[in-house]
């Protein structure tokens, strides 16, 4: 079991290629089975390491046996463990949803596995260039996934996504180059050891590195002026891919921000202007995202803007930088990944039934689709932050952390954000319950919706309630992550 950390990354990658070989096996759902195995085995490996990690330890693995400053090391500590667990959990959920609509789609499962292995890799690695490589693996797989159905608008969206993300990664590479020039190392821990001294001697260059990283992670996580790719890509991508994007790929930017900012600048910059910068950018993101979601008429676009707004909440938690703020931020990352993935599932089911994307065309669908409407209501209540669902707990922590800092201006905006969230979700819900009968799109054939799609939304709806009632279970996983961030 000594090789567990690398196996967690490699097994999904291996499975990705094996899915193509299932063509030669007389198995009914070969690709799906391989994909599920490719996620369950790493999950089992991860959980086998769980006890030690939750107790506060970490597992380090040196690739090729070379010790850290020279070789690449993979480390599973509290933060990586939390994110890796989330990635595999949401990944399995996406596979569950896909079971019904992507039958014999080997390419789809293969790309999904590559993307997940990319996320797992960048979450586990401690080598900053290695992180860049995994970012690119994830990015390339997700570009193809967005354009998977070859719809013209999806291809266009994918192109936009490609250009903007690549611009982000070029900036990140530049930051890596500068850091390497300064420290002569690519290992995060050894860079972190030297960075304080460099900051004392020459703060300007550290500012430059910080700004480059801020912008590149900001593009990835959808911070305000950098969010422009999100609505288009989320609304055009196939439904499970929208869930993947919103649930996991946006969180990757947040992970990088948490990991690198707190490791490199935790004792210097974040305590000064940088923390405030993240905080106020988060506030702007959350209010403007909510404002734009309020006036969207396309359901998937509304959900995309809602993602931006919720990321704003997380950024507020991160920007506060206190233990409570991080607790709220990490919890909200988890909640948002779970809920938003399922909300996209609901949107996908509804759209596949009526053929329209616009909310104004979804009047009165609750009579035909009571199950989906019910889970949509539960999920949107959860993300608004209505107790006793999980969103309430994370928003409570964020509010509490902001109040503890006596930052009343931010409180006003958080108040506005929560209220606007309620406004745009209830706008959708009341359309669903409208007395009018909905009309199918002319000559549109409703696609059959199987039990798997519904099941995936119900599972999340139940999870929302359970996590809301017993938040301690999740907090147990968050606590070691905070210990990593704030030693």
């Amino acid at each position: 079991m000594g090789h567990a950390p690398i196996l967690i990354v490699v097994i999904p990658l291996l499975a990705a290629f094996l899915t193509h070989l299932t063509k030669y096996v007389k198995l009914k759902r070969g690709a799906e089975i391989v994909a599920a195995i490719g996620m369950v085995v790493p999950l089992a490996l991860l959980l086998s390491l769980g006890r030690g990690v939750i107790a506060g330890g970490s597992v380090q693995y040196n690739l090729g046996g070379w010790p850290p400053p020279v070789g690449i090391s993979l480390t599973i500590d509290g933060l990586s463990f939390f994110f890796a667990l989330m990635v595999l959990g949401i990944g399995l959920l996406i596979v569950l949803y896909s079971l019904g609509i992507y039958i014999f789609a080997r390419r789809y499962y293969s790309l999904l596995l590559i993307a997940l292995s990319g996320i797992l890799g960048l979450v586990l690695t401690r080598d900053i260039f290695n992180m860049y490589v995994f970012f690119e693996v994830l990015a390339v797989a997700s570009y193809v996934l967005v354009a998977y159905k070859h719809k013209p608008r999806a291809v266009k969206a994918s192109f936009k996504y490609l250009i903007m993300t690549e611009a982000a990664w070029v900036l990140f590479l530049l930051a890596i180059a500068i850091l390497y020039g300064l420290t002569g190392s690519l290992n995060m821990d050894s860079i972190a050891l030297q960075i304080d001294k460099i900051y004392q001697a020459n703060p300007q260059v550290i500012y430059l590195v910080f700004s480059l990283m801020m912008v590149s992670f900001g593009i990835k996580c959808g911070m305000f002026p950098l969010h422009t790719w999100i609505p288009e890509v989320h609304s055009q991508a196939p439904t499970p891919v929208s869930s993947l994007l919103s649930g996991l790929i946006l969180k990757v930017g947040l992970y990088a921000m948490l990991r690198i900012f707190f490791l490199f600048f935790g004792t210097t910059l974040l305590l000064q202007s940088a923390g405030q910068l993240v905080l106020y950018l988060g506030v702007i993101t959350l209010v403007l995202g909510a404002c734009l979601a309020l006036v969207q008429d396309e359901l998937k676009k509304l959900l995309a803007y809602s993602s931006i707004s919720q990321i704003g909440f997380v950024l507020v938690g991160i920007g506060l930088g206190t233990e409570l703020g991080l607790k709220g931020g990490l919890f909200h990352i988890f909640n948002h990944a779970l809920i938003k993935a399922a909300l996209f599932f609901c949107a996908g089911i509804i759209i596949s039934q009526i053929g329209f994307w616009r909310i104004s065309r979804m009047k009165g669908i609750w009579r035909q689709m009571p199950g989906v409407t019910f889970s949509f209501c539960i999920l949107s209540l959860a993300i608004i932050g209505v107790p006793p669902f999980n969103g309430f707990v994370s928003k409570l922590f964020i509010l509490q952390a902001t109040l503890a800092q006596k930052n009343y201006l931010v409180i006003v905006f958080l108040f506005m954000g929560i209220l606007l969230t309620a406004a745009y979700y209830f706008r959708v819900i009341q359309t669903f319950f409208s007395p009018e009968e909905f009309q199918h799109k002319p000559d549109f054939v409703p696609q059959p919706v199987g039990p798997f799609e519904h099941l995936s939304t119900y599972v999340v709806a139940v999870l929302c309630l359970l996590v809301g009632l017993f938040p301690d279970v999740v907090i147990k996983f968050i606590q070691p992550a905070i210990k990593v961030l704030l030693p």
Binding site: F129, Y132, V133, E136, A139, V140, Y143, V144, A147, H150, P152, V155, K156, S158, F159, L162, I163, E166, A167, V170, L173, L174, I176, A177, Y180, G181, G184, L186
Partner: protein, 109 residues
């Protein structure tokens, strides 16, 4: 002042200029490549030692350049190649569908 680091930065800025002003998506892909090349040049120049030679241990007393940036940039070049290929494939697809490569015109369709 003409060294690899400065030229690398200038090349990155040229790439950024291209991204911001060019409306043709092929030109935008080219700008992205230029930006990437600039960063690669920048990174390699950081590890370069004037008068050094490749780090192949025949004579350990001689001056040698830092091998790590070179190895790392080889990876980055490969990634850049892959991304460019994908971007061009998407561009072909877009042209097939819309018969234009202009981002402004694409917006209207």
């Amino acid at each position: 002042m003409i060294n690899g680091i400065n030229i690398g930065i200038v090349v990155v800025l040229v790439g950024i200029y291209g991204l911001l002003t060019k409306r043709n998506i092929i030109k935008m892909i080219m700008s992205l490549c230029i930006m990437n090349s600039g960063v690669i040049l920048f990174f390699i120049s950081i590890g370069y030692v004037f008068g050094g030679q490749a780090a192949i241990f025949e004579d350990s007393s001689s001056l040698m350049v830092d091998p790590l940036p070179q190895a790392v940039m080889l990876t980055a070049i490969v990634i850049g190649l892959g991304v460019t290929a994908l971007a061009l494939a998407l561009a072909i697809k877009i042209y097939d569908e819309y018969k234009t490569l202009d981002t402004n015109k694409l917006l209207e369709k």
